[in-house]
Amino acid sequence: GAGVSQSPSNKVTEKGKDVELRCDPISGHTALYWYRQSLGQGLEFLIYFQGNSAPDKSGLPSDRFSAERTGGSVSTLTIQRTQQEDSAVYLCASSSSGEGYNEQFFGPGTRLTVL
């Protein structure tokens, strides 16, 4: 694809349910990032994948959050037992490599609402 895609674009769920958010990075990009954007709080780093290296999970807010990246491409962010404070826009980005000087290309985001 031409850019980073995310699905679904919107997700409304009930408190306590599990949700899965999907990210398709730009083909060939080895680095993939997940962020959470809450109103007035900017972008919060969640997790970072680089090639076959172990992911940097240091930003995951609790053990209810997990992410995987299959085959070095598509990534899924899973939130178990969702809480109202999980409501936010979840952004995925990819870059051509894990080098810090590379531009990150962002997807449109998934807006999660937990009722």
Binding site: L43, F45, S53, S58, L91, G98, G100, E103, Q104, F106
Partner: protein, 115 residues
């Protein structure tokens, strides 16, 4: 640990006036610095970046930023803004972490250009 502080959450300015959006960072190592822009209902895109060399960096849409190592700042400027510059602007710092680089974003500055 690195951090990014955007000193103004909102900046209202009249069209054709100059603007400066402030960004300070803290890091104990060399970093790469970025400004991203998010137009209403759109994803984030790169505005400009500083990697090394000249401390004055020019980006798209007439924006520029100056890296000041002694003040650990990377302020964004434009000499004359347009209505179309209304957007949220994010300063970001990329620093080495285990296995690669992690990018930390500031909380964002909402620029509102008035006619």
């Amino acid at each position: 640990a690195q951090s990014v502080t955007q000193l103004d959450s909102q900046v209202p300015v009249f069209e054709e006036a100059p603007v400066e959006l402030r960004c300070n960072y803290s890091s104990s190592v060399s970093v790469y610095l970025f400004w991203y822009v998010q137009y209403p209902n759109q994803g984030l895109q790169l505005l400009l970046k500083y990697l090394s060399g000249s401390t004055l960096v020019k980006g798209i849409n007439g924006f520029e930023a100056e890296f000041n190592k002694s003040q650990t700042s990377f302020h964004l400027r434009k000499p004359s803004v347009h209505i179309s510059d209304t957007a949220e602007y994010f300063c970001a710092v990329s620093e080495t972490s285990a296995g690669g680089f992690k990018t930390i974003f500031g909380a964002g500055t909402r620029l509102f250009v008035k006619a």
